[in-house]
């Protein structure tokens, strides 16, 4: 009896927060009632090891069954039987403290299931965990037992979890033997591989800091964010650099693995991990369990239990959403899938049986030989399942799944690569266009398509080989172990792959579970609950205090400083000269735009020189006509309405703009404060020199925060409305950022961050100016009835 054999034993588990580890812990607690558990958990960045155990393991729905079976005593049982020890298999000595070492020394069995299972992990990380992990555990066990146990006490039994794919690089039978015994594997010296991987990280890091590389990364950041200011661009560039280094190491891992005959870095590091363990285990009794592709559970703790989004799931969901039009593979090929509960049962049986004398026993847990599951069958099952129960797109329409024709991997990869490349080119070209608003949102749709194509390509590159594996994983030793069990154990701890009815498993267990976990739409029709957009708007328009900052151009008004200037400058010109000035400005447009993109302040400073010599009083008078004829005419009524709504709720409003004081003066009643540009005046004429420079970039963010502080309002209660990435620092800093008629880059950022996007348009049917020249007939400004000539305007406090 397995339960009897393990009664009173203390079993340590690494990797308990993982898919397999969680299932193992649950099964041991439930089916082996007399054992104790020691969980070696790496403290997280925010949570300590014990908190991680409580939150990430015990609270998982895997334990629901046990929780209900034990009813009120669940917590007590867990507290009594489970001990958590902080440790990390990625560092030598496992990072154990004295207490941890003594607890570990008292263990009878250690199941090492911690691993980096991602197939595209950076090489150095995979090497530290997968390659060095098992031998570190072995080393630590030898050390702590020597330290704490009397001489001659039995050493604990180490059960390492590896993968059947350590042995997949060849056709035909892959036996349950050490990789060193295989005739078909080219095994390099693992110590040299470790050194090389560690060196590769620092090499790649050094290369990432070369000037050309940094220039390239900065360009990429600028392309993504536009003129978002130095700080944000620097931050983004640094993140891109780190990503680049990681990508280098991912690529290095893949190519190194493939060069040596493994499908990917995971199998490669796992293989060498077995070798390293064999080299370093000394007298430690060791068994190795090698599962194939572990998927959702067949029956225990409940059919379909799964943790995390694993290998096949993203592929299946992408297929169901119609995104993966093809996937390589041969229909007759075998996909070697094994339900997680079978693997767990096998591990527990190995623990109970104990080590083999003087040899490392290897148990493969795979289905390919005993109960082969054909790739073609899987695809057929998925197709009919999703045809019967389609997923629904954003508009509530059912998605028709594509029919796969099993092309070669090269063909699929080629097609996807071309598609991604084409989309990237189109996206790049379109994002240069000065589009905003709904058109810009469409462009970001392109970006999404491109990302989907790239992701599909990633799946094909990563997992393609698993549908083409020609190795047949023998399970003779595992089956023999199974045969040796008594009837009760065979029922309680079944790990015979022959029991799986694949059709039932796919249709009734796996796919329902995958769909449930994927958070996809499985019902037709539009959503009835409030959209995210409505919720975001409601969060802004509350009666709570808010500090609301508005940008002006393209946010509230479809106009800019050049047009204001053109209007004011042409007001006193003859029609002919008026036309000429307009043409000149239009011709200058691209140059002005380029300067503006480079540096807003420089642009304003140089552009406002044009006001030099203008009669100040007249310009100020004319600005009131400009207000009606240009600013209000081109305003977005919904925008002005939004400002007013904020005010009516008692929110504080601030306008930050590069426009000149006299241009925005008529807007003063809308805002508590206005921060704008001002040019000097001498002897009644304008000097054209900016005497007050409006803040741009980060300065706007700082201003907003200072302003909120000065009003005693939390920075979380700030709201910022802006239209371009030059305001990104302010939007990032705001508690509630709102992108108004965003240009392409901002639209992409807003979509990624889930920011509220408002599309505001000029009044429907309102008058349209094509050129911003004054078409109002000249005449002295007519005053309201109380007035003398000047000084009757209500004026805001301009700072």
């Amino acid at each position: 009896m397995i339960a009897d054999a393990l009664a009173g034993k203390r079993i340590a588990v690494t990797g308990a927060t993982g898919f397999l580890g969680t299932a193992l812990v649950e099964r041991l607690l439930r089916s082996v009632p007399e054992c104790e558990l020691v969980l070696l958990v790496r403290p997280g960045r925010r949570l300590g090891a014990s908190e991680r155990t409580a939150r990430e393991i015990i609270r998982n729905d895997c334990f629901d069954r046990l929780r209900s079976e034990l009813a009120g005593s669940f917590a007590d049982v867990v507290a009594r039987r489970v001990t958590t020890v902080a440790g990390d298999v990625g560092s030598d000595g496992l990072g154990l403290d004295a207490e941890g070492r003594s607890v570990l020394a008292g263990c009878d069995v250690v199941v090492h299931s911690a691993a980096t299972v991602s197939f595209d992990a950076p090489l150095d990380g995979a090497v530290e965990v997968n390659l060095l992990g098992p031998s570190r555990v072995a080393r630590a066990l030898l050390d702590v037992t020597a330290e704490h146990n009397p001489v001659g006490s039995p050493l604990p039994h180490l059960v390492g979890v590896s993968t059947a794919y350590v042995n997949s690089g060849h056709h035909g039978d892959a036996f349950e033997e050490l990789v060193t015994e295989s005739r078909y594997l080219a095994l390099p010296d693992w110590r040299a591989e470790v050194d090389a991987a560690r060196r590769a990280r620092s090499d790649a890091d050094a290369r990432s800091r070369e000037p050309e590389r940094l220039a390239q990364l900065r360009k990429a950041a600028r392309h993504e964010l536009g003129a978002a200011g130095t700080a944000l661009l620097a931050e983004r560039t640094e993140r891109l650099r780190e990503e680049w280094v990681d990508a280098q190491l991912v690529e290095l891992g893949r190519s190194r693995a493939q060069a040596l005959g493994w499908p990917d870095a995971y199998a490669y590091t796992k293989s060498l991990g077995e070798v390293a363990l064999a080299d370093t285990r000394g007298d430690l009794p060791v068994s190795i369990v090698r599962p194939s592709i572990v998927e959702s559970s067949l029956a225990e703790p409940r059919p379909g239990w799964i943790r995390g989004f694993r290998m096949a799931e993203p592929v299946i969901i992408s297929y169901a959403r119609g995104l993966l039009k093809q996937f390589p593979g041969v229909p007759e090929g075998i996909v070697d899938v094994i339900p997680v509960d079978l693997v767990v049962a096998a591990i527990i049986a190995v623990c109970a049986r104990g080590p083999e004398k003087d040899a490392t026993a290897i148990y493969q847990v795979a289905s390919g030989v005993r109960n082969p599951f054909r790739y073609g069958t899987l695809v057929d099952l998925c197709e009919s399942w999703f045809t019967e129960r389609p997923l629904y797109d954003a508009k509530g329409q059912p998605i028709v799944v594509p029919t796969w024709s099993f092309p070669g991997r090269g063909k699929v990869q080629g097609e996807l690569r071309r598609a991604a490349k084409g989309l990237r080119a189109v996206e790049r070209a379109v994002s240069m266009l000065p589009v905003r608003g709904e058109l810009a949102e469409k462009v970001t749709g392109l970006e999404e398509k491109r990302q989907l194509a790239e992701r599909a390509l990633g799946y094909v590159e990563l997992y393609g080989s698993y549908t083409e594996t020609e190795a047949r994983f023998r399970v003779d030793r595992t089956l023999a172990l199974y045969e040796s069990l008594d009837e009760h154990d065979r029922a309680a701890f079944c790990f015979d792959p022959g029991v799986v009815d694949w059709e039932r498993y796919v249709n009734e267990v796996h796919l329902p579970s995958v769909v449930e976990h994927a958070r996809v739409r499985t019902a037709p029709g539009r959503r009835v609950s409030a959209t995210r957009e409505e919720r975001a708007r409601a969060a802004i328009l509350t009666d709570e205090p808010r500090c609301v900052v508005f940008d002006l151009e393209q946010t509230l008004v479809n106009s800019n400083v050049v047009e204001s200037y053109a209007w004011l400058a042409t007001r006193h010109l003859s029609p002919l000269r008026r036309a000429r000035l307009a043409v000149e400005l239009v011709a200058e447009g691209p140059r002005l735009l380029a300067v503006d993109r480079r540096d807003r302040t420089d642009f304003l400073r140089s552009f406002y020189r044009r006001y030099e010599g203008a009669p100040a009083d007249r310009v100020r008078q004319d600005a009131w006509e400009l207000f009606s004829d240009l600013i209000l005419t081109r305003s977005f009524p919904e925008g002005l309405q939004r400002v007013r709504e904020h005010r009516s709720r008692g929110h504080r409003t601030l306008l930050i703009t590069g426009a000149l004081d006299f241009v925005v003066a008529p807007l003063a009643p809308l805002f508590d404060e206005i921060v704008c540009a001002r040019i000097g005046e001498r002897d009644g004429v304008l000097t054209g020199e900016m005497v007050a420079t409006p803040p741009t970039g980060e300065a706007r963010a700082i201003l907003m925060e200072r302003w909120a502080d000065s009003l005693g309002i939390s920075r979380d209660a700030t709201v910022a409305y802006a239209d371009s990435t030059s305001d990104l620092p302010m939007l990032e800093a705001a508690g509630h950022p709102v992108a108004v008629n965003p240009e392409t880059k901002l639209a992409a950022v807003a979509r990624k961050r889930g920011w509220l996007v408002e599309q505001w348009a000029p009044a429907r049917g309102g008058p349209r100016h094509r050129l911003a020249v004054s078409t109002r007939p000249l005449g002295p400004r007519t005053q309201v009835s109380s007035g003398a000539l000047t000084g009757i305007r209500p004026s805001g406090d301009l700072s």
Partner: protein
């Protein structure tokens, strides 16, 4: 030969299709046999020498008033107020009636040695006029003489220092007035009496007043008790203004009222077909109509609006009278009636009308849906004396495109009224009680009214109150060819064709209803017996 009076046509099989105005366009509609079409009278003859007639009127005042020349003296304060851009419709060919009259008044003032003269556009709560609109109304000579010196003002009902409180009427109505006008030795008011509603004490008591004063007669109760507001003696709107006018007089404000009437020569010769009866159309009229319609079909709405806005009416002065307000206005009304009255016997089940591109509040602007409602149910519905043209519980069918469009400068509060108020309720009483105050006192609307060219925040409410009598009286309102969502927002029913609208009307008034079509503009006043 004297011009032909108005005419009531009974539609028979041989009647040609009837022209319906449809915003910046027209529709030709076949009315059911037996329908009545009401045509305006033909234009009265113009005054042969208008300037002489004006001088004659100034020196031969009506009622208890001395001639203008003897009211003027050196060192006095003279204020001349005049009707704003809402009159006349369409704007008249220069010289405008106001220009002729004001030039004559200024000549008299100059020869009397008066040098403190100020002109005020009597805006009430309307938008400020633009410089070119003022120049058009006053002529360049007057404009250039006054505007540069700050002597051409526009009434500002929201200027706390520019308004004085003159007292309350026996009904407790506050009377507030422009300080400059109230403190002048003489206030000359120059009016254009396009329809019977205009003029009289309403000129000063409304045109130069404040919101606090105007709200006493611009409200739902008053409008529901004005039957119609085109009939001064049955109009609570006018009774209130008359009470206020007397308070102004008793407060010592000396008003010299000059009222002018225009004949019905409304459209220039290229649009002559618009004021002719269809069966009398000549080949030229037909060609003109076809060409106009074909051109309009190919013109974007914004351009069509500009083209129509440029129409200058050949309106001619048909009378001018001056002196004491009430005596002058009685004479003016007689002259308006002489031109505009059309006798109609009996009411109708269904009233049809086509709305033109222009109303008093969208000169050089956009006819937004609220103004569509106001022109149809406020102005055209009320063009009656005696009883409404349509019976109680009857149906009004209006033809207008009713676009969901607003002028961002002129009508900011209209847009918000449409989006925020009408989306909640269309009941005038509820609207008045719940929303008027907040719009009327909204500082942003006040700011735009005072400094830009926006109608006052409360103005859309008045437009809706203007409809209150019709909304109370009618069983249903149907708009043909309008933007469906805008029409529904107004609380009306949209219909694609007149035939469909008539079918829908039968659900309300029963089968085979009587139908009457008012063929306006040119405008007339139905005398319903």
């Amino acid at each position: 030969m004297s011009p032909r009076p108005g005419f009531v046509l009974e539609v028979d099989r041989s009647t040609p299709a009837t022209l319906f105005w449809h915003g910046e366009g027209f529709r030709l509609e076949r009315l059911p046999v037996g329908s009545r079409v009401l045509y305006p009278p033909e234009p009265l003859a113009a005054l042969p020498d208008p300037d002489a007639a004006i001088r004659h009127a100034l020196e031969n005042p009506l009622g208890d008033s001395e001639p203008l020349s003897s009211l003027l003296f050196p060192g006095m304060r003279l204020t001349i107020a005049f009707d704003d851009v809402s009159l006349p419709l369409p704007p008249m060919r220069p010289p405008d009636a106001r220009q002729r009259v004001i030039e004559a008044v200024l000549d008299a003032a100059a020869s009397a040695g008066v040098d403190d003269v100020v002109l005020i556009a009597a805006l009430a709560l309307h938008r400020r006029m633009t410089d070119d609109e003022l120049r058009h109304a006053l002529g360049s000579r007057v404009f250039d003489a006054f505007a540069p010196h700050g002597l051409l003002l526009q009434h500002d009902a929201e200027d706390p220092s520019g308004i004085v409180h003159l007292g309350v009427t026996d009904q407790g109505e506050d009377v507030e007035l422009s300080r400059r006008a109230a403190e002048s030795d003489l206030l000359v008011y120059v009016n254009i009496n396009l329809v019977a509603m205009d003029g009289g004490h309403k000129s000063v008591a409304t045109g130069l007043a404040s919101y606090k004063s105007i709200r006493h007669h611009h409200n739902v109760r008053t409008m529901q008790h004005s039957r119609s507001f085109m009939d001064r003696h049955r109009s609570e709107l006018h009774s209130s203004n008359w009470r206020m006018g007397r308070v102004i007089r008793d407060a010592g404000v000396k008003v010299f009222q000059i009222e002018t009437t225009l004949n019905l020569d409304t459209f220039p010769s290229q649009f002559r077909f618009l004021q002719r009866r269809e069966w009398e159309w000549t080949l030229r009229d037909r060609a003109g109509f076809q060409a106009t319609r074909a051109a309009l079909d190919r013109t974007p709405p914004a351009i069509a609006r500009q083209i129509f806005s440029s129409i200058r009416s050949p309106h001619a002065l048909s009378s001018v009278q001056a002196g004491e307000v009430e005596a002058v206005h009685d004479q003016t009304l007689a002259n308006v009636h002489r031109q505009q009255l059309v006798e109609v016997s009996g009411q109708t089940d269904v009233l049809t009308m086509g709305l033109p591109y222009i109303g008093p509040y969208n000169v050089n602007s956009i006819m937004n849906p609220i103004l569509v409602a106001c022109l149809g149910l406020g102005y055209f519905f009320n063009l009656y004396r005696g009883r409404p043209l349509v019976r109680e519980g009857g149906v009004c069918i209006i033809s207008h495109p009713t676009p969901w469009a607003f002028h961002p400068v002129h009508h900011p509060s209209y847009l918000d009224f449409f989006e925020q108020v009408l989306s909640e309720t269309t009941d005038p009483l509820e609207i008045e009680a719940k929303y008027e105050e907040s719009f009327a006192t909204d500082p942003w609307y006040v700011h735009l009214y005072r400094t830009s060219n926006a109608y006052h925040g409360v103005h859309p409410f008045y437009m809706w109150y203007w409809c209150a009598h019709a909304l109370q009286h009618l069983g249903q309102v149907i708009i043909v060819g309008g933007d469906r969502s805008a029409v529904r927002r107004l609380g009306f029913k949209p219909a694609t064709t007149l035939a469909d609208a008539l079918e829908m009307a039968e659900d309300v008034v029963g089968r085979d209803p009587s139908v009457t079509h008012v063929h306006v503009p040119p405008l007339f006043l139905a005398d319903v017996t």
